[in-house]
């Protein structure tokens, strides 16, 4: 089973929201004082790949697209247990839209050779768009199953439990296919010391846009404006000698305010 996992380097979504800033002049966002991370949704996809490998063996190739990729960040999936890392790194990929991203990843997947399964996170934590996986599938002309919480892949067949708002669906499809992974698949495993040491020694394969035959960006969507909605805090803190008294006073306050 050859598995390709697509992950993205993003600004840390778990950093305190108070550290989030937008530069209105450039329409760029940053998280002050927090280094970038591998997108958490992508980590769930890596975890799903590792679960499949644990069950039936296989090879996991991680692909990441961007500009200015930090090696210590993008190597985390290797430390978790992935086998290879391919970086699609080019100035042309800075602020890529879904079309550019999917076209480059689809081209790189073809170039990488035989594959059975492509896994992506359900969405990236910066764009929250949830399109890349489906778009890669369309470009490769293969089936796509979104929002997986459980994946069985063997002998050319795929069986996925897809998360829905009321429970789940069971979907079957032939391989190769693309699956997007939701957090219900389970917490990503921590890198082991051995994994970290192995990842340090491993050099990623790096391809530029020209290496995968992507000529220009061919953008289909334009970002006109990025801004932070104004939000005024107006919390009334309940007083009390101790937490128990605070709890009781909170109930009294809610009754007084006719909330209860």
């Amino acid at each position: 089973m050859n598995i390709i996992v697509c992950v993205k380097q993003v600004i840390d979504p778990e950093a305190p929201p108070g550290n989030f800033r937008v530069d209105p002049a450039t329409n760029k966002a940053e998280m002050k004082g927090a280094p970038p991370v591998i997108d958490p949704y992508g980590e769930y996809a890596v975890e799903a790949a590792l679960k499949i490998k644990d069950a039936g063996g296989g090879k996991i190739t991680v692909m990441s697209l961007g500009a200015g990729l930090l090696r210590e960040v993008v190597k985390k999936p290797l430390a978790m247990g992935a086998d290879e890392l391919v970086l699609l790194e080019d100035a042309a990929f800075a602020d890529a839209d879904t079309f550019t991203t999917a076209a480059a990843l689809a081209a790189a997947i073809k170039k990488a050779g035989d594959f059975d399964l492509v896994l992506c996170g359900r969405e990236a934590s910066d764009t929250n768009a949830g399109q890349t996986g489906a778009s890669i599938a369309e470009l490769l002309g293969i089936p796509c199953v979104t929002l997986a919480r459980k994946i069985d892949a063997a002998a050319g067949k795929l069986r996925v439990e897809r998360v829905t708002s009321t429970g789940y669906e069971v979907i079957e499809a032939p391989l190769p296919a693309v699956v997007t992974v939701s957090n219900e698949v389970g917490e990503p495993r921590y890198p082991t010391i051995k994994g970290i040491m192995a990842a340090k020694k491993k050099e990623p394969v790096t391809w530029k846009a020209a290496d995968i035959g992507i000529a220009s960006s061919g953008r289909r969507v334009t970002l006109n404006r990025l801004y932070q909605p104004v939000h005024e805090a107006r919390c009334e803190f309940i007083k009390g000698e101790n937490p128990e008294e605070m709890g009781a006073n909170l109930a009294l306050k809610l009754r007084e305010a006719k909330v209860l």
């Binding site: 108070g18 399109q131 979907i171 334009t222």
Partner: protein, 327 residues
């Protein structure tokens, strides 16, 4: 040119999001001087066409085929590709539902265009006459305004962010049938079964009061205390993502960007730090009450009332007082 709206339905009714889509489409259509076309796909759905007209459609394209009874990804993408190529809309609106979030990106790529997903506002640029689609990004930390360079300009809309029109049963419209013409070879992925994992009691989407717990609750046992308060308030229990990932609470009660987006009268956040991705799911609540031992927690920026303290001490005293007050 038209503004097309994919109108989802369940049972013998259009979904609220379909009517919200028609309302949003009507607004854009009036700004551009174009008609609104509803696209109805399913099996034995002829009766729904009039509901789409009453909701604001001028035209209804109906694809009625037994193979389309339930959402099947490949069949629906293929049928919608055919319909969209035939009616050639300038804008296509789809709901950000279980179906829409699966369907829209694939359809966009099949059509050689792009989609902006999960929009909370739609407007027409008065000069360029192009669609300006606003959506939350960075887990709700920011809003982004996008425009599509290609037609149809596709969007999916977030539930309860657009306004449906008052239903007008006297409205007239034209109904056009289109044959599905499904190619069995195009259907590769199949939905084999659908399983409902509803939790007992009031559904979180319908509850007037929600008591939600975060990572700080620490265990499934801890959630039993939240249940006690929820029962007292005739409400439902919710959770942020970590408790669901840890199995302390069922996935179906996850509140946030990737879970349920709810707006109860009262939202009691217990040991929830208030990440942007979580607040995206509950910031529309009428009153947010927070208990957290960290005075700097982001949840207090959204809460109307807050108690800074260990929930294990605050909550039992709060619950006891609530019980005394309402009995």
């Amino acid at each position: 040119m038209t503004i097309a709206v994919f109108t989802e339905h369940r049972g013998d009714k259009l979904l609220p999001i379909a009517l919200e889509g028609l309302g949003a489409g009507r607004k854009l259509a009036d700004a551009l001087g174009q008609p609104v076309a509803a696209v109805l796909v399913g099996s034995s759905i002829a009766g729904l066409a009039q509901a789409a007209i009453a909701g604001g459609a001028d035209l209804v394209y109906v694809v009625d085929d037994p193979l389309l009874m339930e959402y099947q990804p490949d069949a629906y993408v293929s049928v919608l590709e055919k319909v969209v190529r035939q009616i050639n809309p300038q804008i296509l609106i789809i709901g950000q539902t279980d179906t829409g979030r699966d369907l829209a990106p694939r359809l966009a790529f099949r059509l050689g265009t792009a989609v902006t997903t999960d929009c909370v506002d739609l407007a027409i640029d008065p000069v360029a006459k192009r669609l300006l689609a606003t959506r939350p990004v960075y887990g709700g930390n920011a809003l982004a305004v996008f425009s599509n360079e290609t037609d149809p300009q596709m969007v999916t809309i977030r539930t309860k962010t657009m306004t449906a029109l008052p239903t007008d049963a006297a409205r007239r419209g034209e109904i056009i049938n289109i044959a599905a013409g499904l190619d069995a070879a195009a259907i590769k992925a199949r939905v084999i079964s659908r399983v409902a994992e509803e939790v007992a009691g009031i559904k979180i989407e319908d509850a007037a009061a929600v008591v939600a717990g975060g990572r700080g609750i620490g265990s499934a046992e801890g959630f039993k205390q939240l249940e006690e308060l929820a029962r007292l308030l005739k409400g439902a229990v919710g959770a942020s993502r970590p408790p669901c990932d840890s199995g302390w609470a069922p996935d179906t009660v996850q509140v946030g960007l990737t879970g349920k987006i709810i707006a109860p009268e009262l939202y009691i956040a217990v040991a929830i730090s208030g990440s942007s991705q979580h607040m995206s799911g509950c910031s529309g609540s009428r009153t947010i009450v927070a208990m957290n031992k960290d005075a700097e927690a982001n949840i207090f920026r959204y809460a109307r009332y807050g108690a800074i303290g260990d929930w294990k001490k605050v909550l039992p005293a709060f619950t006891a007082k609530v019980r005394a007050l309402i009995s």
